[in-house]
Amino acid sequence: MISRVADHCFWVGRYLDRAESTARLLQVTRSLAFDAEMPTQAVWRPVVTVSGQYPDFCERFGDKAAGQGDVVQRYMTWAPENAVSIKTSIWGARESARSIREVLSLDIWQATNELYLWFVSEEAQRTYAHDRDEIYRQIRRQTQLSLGLVRSTMLHDTPMDILWLGVLLERIGQTARILDMHHYLLDGNGHGKSVKDAKDGGAPAEPGAGKHQIVQTALWLSLLRTCSGFEAFMRVHKGRVTGHDAVEFLLFEERFPRSLRYCVRSALGLMRRIWPAELAAIGGAPLARLAALDAWLGERKLDFDPSSIHDLLTHVVDETALVCSEARHAMSGATTASEAAGEPGPTTQQQ
């Protein structure tokens, strides 16, 4: 498989999953804001913080704006200058897909192209203005359609494995970041740091002590909804929601397809198919790193300590980022890792 094609496959997967995950995060946070009985800063700022865009956001709008749902939503949905906005992601997915149309099935290309065309249309603008919830729902549905078509219409071969590897590695990072948004409720010090942007944003101050329990439950529920894990969690835990269980579920539940453990496991399986033992010289590095992460997560499950959650997630995010760049390096045939490292995939940014 040609290196360039492999890289595009990888990015189609990553961008589609990123668009979906961001839409989901905005949709759930919007619902949380209404009756979470929390200051709006505490609700909206983590959304920007975990995206890694807090410095850019503050430069453009000032840090007070991080408590304004509308500013945050516009920035995370539409801003082309935001490297992880939904628009950037959908555009990136479509650009990558366009470069490898012959590798994808026609169905996948059409679904992805339609998603892009709809998203830049006036109709989408109108939906955004009048029915915010609906636009997030449609983004989720359309990206899910593309991803479903990948599995149901594409040859189950290396290109699909690489595309799906992109989906899973992206999902690991997204889930870890989402979990980290409110980790300060678990680690007990009330003012924990957030992955990546500790010094820029940090976590919101602890809500009033009297409301503590109620607010926490609201957050856990929204966390589960953000990861589409509400029903699955409820079935496992029979309606009982605690922070410990919710976080443990999203970290370790092997039967839940969006948990970190599941995604790491599955990604490892794909990597072993992409780079079997005889190709160890090429793909050995990312594979070994991911295998180590999988084993490490397994150990953490045994001695899970909620107070170390932030460190755990930071480790997962950092290691996954390294796996990504090493995997791209392996795919590229480049001689050094630095040649292949660095996001985003398609280099030209529109607008």
Binding site: R30, A33, D35, V43, K238
Partner: protein, 496 residues
């Protein structure tokens, strides 16, 4: 005046004279605690609001939030109409309602234990024995049963109305299988979806109800069973039941199995659910079936519906039933007039919540007054519910009143009467006229009980509850089967 400023929708809205409006005062000025809502309506044009309404309805259809109407033979599914203008309650008032409900339910819980126990209330004349013994819902064979977990009223829905002076009054207790809570949760979802600029942080949340309910159900697991390990199921009559949506909604959001009677079997004194892995013991059943359909061996030998032997298992404390069979005696309309006395008797406290003054037709003086003032009174048959079997005296025809006079004189115990309360109103969207008009509302808060530590179970009240609205102009009937709709109920957050 202040009412018109900025608010396009509330412009020209006026409360009915002699009626309390939930959102605006007599001069049309928004009540201070209702500002969270009126500010949301500010700037919305009628067209904009209509668009929101259409979105809300679409959203309910998509989610399948429907009920079936018994009288409709085609089994048509209908969407409960929802009006997006919320009903708002201030934090201090709600705090009082909460205390009042907890107090009232504590007394009713003790009353049930007494009726099915020593019957001190009957011996000491707090409640006339006849009122209990002749109640259709009183089940003498259950005397002496101690339910698992010590709770009988696990889930209560108490209907409140507000009179023209602004006083909230209890209209009715629902202690059997009160329904409607799923609409509370769905209405909130719809509100969140539709309103673009929500009032952030000012409203108390409702979506932890399922968790609270699961916890309450688990807490009443039978003796010797670890609540952590117990199996709890939701028992539904099936998809044809009018509240089936709610049954599946609650099971799904609690992560519990939804079962029908045929899925359960009693072996010895234990209840089992049939599974692919063989029978599995069930410890707690949240049953949404009527008493009559719990157990054919006990209630209806002629019926095939229900789980044979279930009552035996319950009576032996091997399974908890929520709510307990036989509860109907305490929410009987004939007992209602005595609830304030029950509160004083059991708790040695004055009732916090008022109720509606009631004539008990079984009493001679009351009966004579009732039959002579039928054109002023609302007469209710004690065994009917859902707005059926009642006479709205002031609106009724002479023939209807004559019929009720005969009914009352023939079987006085079956009837009570009240003056019609001018139910409070809330601004409500009238699509035909594209504007807000006052429509009458009531409120059904929901309260959950967990295992008793002392003699009284601990109770949790869902902030707000179901606001039902009589959509027809001039109507007082809020039941969904008779042209009623619902509204989201916002309880002001005490931190706001």
């Amino acid at each position: 005046m202040a009412e018109a400023e900025g608010s396009l929708l509330l412009k020209g809205y006026g409360a009915l004279s002699g009626t309390y409006d939930e959102l605006v005062d007599a001069a049309g000025v928004p009540r201070p605690h209702a500002r969270v809502a009126t500010e949301l309506l500010d700037g919305l044009t009628p067209e904009g609001f209509q668009r929101c309404q259409s979105l809300a309805e679409l959203s309910l259809v998509q989610q399948g939030v429907t009920f079936s109407v018994y009288s409709d033979q085609r089994g048509t599914e209908k969407v409960m109409p929802v009006c997006l203008v919320p009903r708002v309650m201030g934090a201090p008032e709600w705090e009082r309602v909460e205390r009042g409900l907890v107090q009232r339910l504590a007394a009713l819980e003790l009353f049930l234990a007494d009726v099915y126990g020593d019957q001190r209330t009957l011996r000491e004349g707090v409640v006339p024995g006849e009122m209990v013994e002749k109640s259709k819902s009183f089940e003498p064979r259950l005397r002496g049963v101690k339910p698992a977990g010590g709770v009988r009223i696990h889930i209560a829905g108490v209907d409140l109305i507000r009179d023209p002076t602004g006083t909230l009054r209890v209209l009715e207790d629902n202690l059997r299988t009160p329904s409607g809570v799923s609409y509370v949760l769905e209405n909130r979802q719809v509100t969140k979806r539709v309103f673009q600029h929500a009032v952030e942080g000012g409203v108390r949340r409702v979506d932890d109800y399922p968790s609270q309910l699961a916890e309450a159900l688990r807490s009443v697991s039978p003796e010797g069973v670890d609540p952590e390990e117990s199996t709890v199921v939701v028992l539904t009559p099936g998809p044809f039941n009018s509240a089936y949506f709610e049954h599946s909604f609650l099971a799904r959001s609690m992560g519990l199995e939804l079962v029908e009677a045929s899925d359960l079997v009693v072996d010895g004194d234990d209840v089992y659910v049939r599974t692919t892995m063989g029978p599995r013991r069930v410890h707690v059943i949240y049953r949404r079936t009527d008493d009559a359909f719990i157990d054919p061996e006990f209630f209806r030998p002629d019926s095939l519906l229900g789980v044979p032997g279930l009552m035996r298992a319950w009576a032996k404390g091997r399974v908890a039933l929520a709510n307990a069979p036989g509860n109907g005696v305490a929410d009987d309309k004939a007992i209602y007039p005595f609830v304030p006395d029950l509160i004083r008797f059991f708790l040695k406290e004055e009732p916090i919540l008022e109720q509606v003054p009631t004539f008990v037709c079984a009493r001679r003086d009351d009966r004579m007054f009732v039959v002579e003032h039928l054109d002023e009174l609302v007469v209710k048959a004690v065994d009917e519910a859902g707005g059926y079997g009642m006479l709205m005296g002031p609106q009724a025809t002479q023939a209807e009143r004559d019929k009720f006079r005969e009914l009352v004189l023939a079987e006085p115990r079956k009837y009570i009467a009240q003056h019609r309360v001018e139910l409070s109103t809330c601004p409500t969207w009238v699509p035909e006229r594209k504007r807000l008009e006052p429509r009458r509302v009531d409120l059904r808060p929901f309260a959950l009980a967990s295992r008793a530590l002392g003699t009284i179970p601990s109770r949790w009240v869902l902030p707000g509850g179901l606001t039902r609205v009589a959509l027809r102009e001039g109507s007082y009937v809020v039941n969904s089967s008779q042209g009623g709709g619902s509204k989201d109920t916002w309880v002001q957050s005490s931190q706001a």
